[in-house]
C-alpha cells in the first residue's frame, strides 16, 4: 500500500513546468509483450498442427507484407507524437486537458480524437504524447474513445463500405455522447483510486 508505483502523470500543480520532459516509456519487454509472444507462439503452433508448414508460411508472408505497408505510417505517427509533445506548451495542455479541466477538457479531447487523421499508428502515439505533456487520464480516454468511435478515418475507410451508410450514421449518432461519458467515468474512478498518492 505504501509503495504503489509512483510514475503516474498525475497533477504536479504548477511545478511540473520546471522539470524536463519525463521521456516516454521505453521498456523494450514488459509482461504484456511476453503474453503476446506466448499467445502468438501457441497460435502459430496450432496453425502448424492444422495446416502444416505451408499454412504457417502463408500467414507469415501475408503479415510481413502488411507489416511493410504499415511501417511508414508508424514512423509518421511517432513523428506526429514527438512534434506534439515538443510543440505544445505543457502548462497550457495541463490547463486545458489536465485533471482540473472539467467538462471542457473532455470536450476538447473528444473533438481532438474525432479530427485526428490516420489509424492506430497515429492515435496511440499522440495519446501517449498528450499523457506526457500533462493531459490527465480522463481527457486522454475521451480522445482515444472518440477516435475509435466517432473518428472519421475508420468509419469512412471500412465501416461505410462494409456496414452501409444507414447503420454507420446511426451508430455514430448513438456513440456521440460516449467519449465524454467515458472520460468523465475515467476521471471519477482515477481520482478515487489514486487520491491517496497525489493528494
Amino acid at each position: 500500500m505504501s509503495e504503489l508505483p509512483l510514475k503516474d502523470p498525475a497533477p504536479a500543480d504548477d511545478a511540473a513546468e520546471a522539470e524536463p520532459r519525463p521521456g516516454r516509456i521505453r521498456k523494450p519487454i514488459g509482461w504484456s509483450m511476453i503474453v503476446i509472444a506466448v499467445l502468438v507462439a501457441v497460435s502459430a503452433a496450432l496453425v502448424y498442427r492444422r495446416d502444416g508448414i505451408d499454412g504457417v508460411l502463408e500467414i507469415l508472408t501475408h503479415d510481413l507484407a502488411l507489416f511493410g505497408g504499415i511501417l511508414p505510417r508508424v514512423l509518421a505517427g511517432c513523428l506526429l507524437g514527438a512534434f506534439i509533445a515538443e510543440i505544445l506548451p505543457h502548462e497550457k495542455v495541463s490547463r486545458s486537458l489536465g485533471p482540473k479541466s472539467g467538462l471542457k477538457g473532455l470536450l476538447i479531447g473528444t473533438a481532438f480524437g474525432a479530427i485526428l487523421p490516420g489509424g492506430p499508428f497515429t492515435a496511440y502515439p499522440v495519446a501517449s504524447a498528450l499523457l506526457t505533456v500533462g493531459a490527465d487520464f480522463g481527457a486522454t480516454i475521451a480522445m482515444v474513445v472518440s477516435w475509435t468511435l466517432i473518428g472519421y478515418g475508420r468509419a469512412v475507410a471500412w465501416e461505410l463500405p462494409i456496414m452501409g451508410t444507414d447503420f454507420t450514421l446511426w451508430r455514430i449518432v448513438i456513440s456521440l455522447p460516449l467519449p465524454v461519458l467515458a472520460g468523465a467515468l475515467g476521471r471519477f474512478v482515477y481520482v478515487r483510486m489514486y487520491s491517496r498518492i497525489a493528494p
Binding site: 508505483p5 503516474d8 516516454r24 523494450p28 514488459g30 509483450m33 503476446i36 509472444a37 499467445l39 502468438v40 497460435s43 496450432l46 496453425v47 500467414i59 507469415l60 503479415d63 510481413l64 507489416f67 504499415i70 511508414p72 505510417r73 508508424v74 514512423l75 509518421a76 505517427g77 511517432c78 513523428l79 506526429l80 514527438a82 512534434f83 506534439i84 509533445a85 510543440i87 487523421p117 490516420g118 492506430p120 499508428f121 496511440y124 495519446a127 501517449s128 499523457l131 486522454t140 480516454i141 482515444v144 474513445v145 475509435t148 468511435l149 475507410a157 471500412w158 462494409i162 456496414m163 444507414d166 447503420f167 446511426w170 451508430r171 448513438i174 461519458l181 467515458a182 467515468l185 475515467g186
Partner: protein
C-alpha cells in the same frame, strides 16, 4: 484509394507540425525528429511481433464461432454475448465490420450489433495487446479498457430506446 488519402493527410500533418517546430527554432525541430525516430525504433520490434503474429491468432479463432455467438439473439443476454464477441474478435477492421455485416444480414438485432461494433471498437483484446500496449503506458491501457466496459451496454440501451431511423 482511401489509403492514399489517409497517407496524404497523415504526412501533411507531419509536415505542418514540422514547419511549426522549425519556426520555433532548429533545435526544436531536430529534437522532435530525434525523439520521434527513437520512439519508432523502439516500437518497431513490438509492432513486428503484433502485426506478424496477429495472423496466427486470427487463424485459430474462426469468424464462424463469433457469428454464431451473435446469432439472432435478442434482449440483454444477446447484448452481453455481443459484447464478449466484440472483445474476442481478432484481426483488423475488415474482420470486425464484416462479422457485424454478416450478423446484420443473418437477422441479428440492431442493438446487439451496435453493442458488438462498439465493444469491438473499444476493447477488442487483440488491438489492446498489439497496438495500444506497445505505444502507451500499460497502466493507462488497462485502465481505459476497464472504464470502457459499460459503454457497449449503454450504446445498446440508447439503440433500444430510440429505435432504428
Amino acid at each position: 484509394m482511401s489509403a492514399a488519402i489517409i497517407d496524404i493527410i497523415l504526412w501533411g500533418s507531419v509536415a505542418a507540425l514540422a514547419v511549426i517546430a522549425w519556426q520555433r527554432g532548429r533545435l526544436v525541430l531536430t529534437t522532435s525528429v530525434r525523439e520521434g525516430t527513437m520512439d519508432f525504433i523502439n516500437i518497431v520490434p513490438r509492432i513486428a511481433l503484433g502485426v506478424i503474429g496477429s495472423g496466427y491468432i486470427a487463424a485459430v479463432i474462426p469468424a464462424e464461432i463469433i457469428t454464431g455467438w451473435l446469432g439472432p439473439n435478442s434482449g440483454w443476454l444477446g447484448v452481453l454475448t455481443a459484447v464478449i464477441a466484440g472483445a474476442a474478435t481478432p484481426g483488423g477492421p475488415v474482420v470486425g465490420f464484416s462479422i457485424g455485416a454478416v450478423a446484420l444480414k443473418a437477422g441479428g438485432g440492431a442493438p446487439q450489433i451496435i453493442a458488438y461494433v462498439v465493444a469491438w471498437a473499444l476493447f477488442a483484446f487483440q488491438r489492446l495487446l498489439l497496438w495500444e500496449i506497445p505505444f502507451m503506458p500499460a497502466r493507462f491501457v488497462w485502465f481505459r479498457a476497464a472504464v470502457s466496459l459499460p459503454f457497449p451496454f449503454l450504446a445498446a440501451a440508447i439503440a433500444m430506446a430510440i429505435g432504428r431511423p
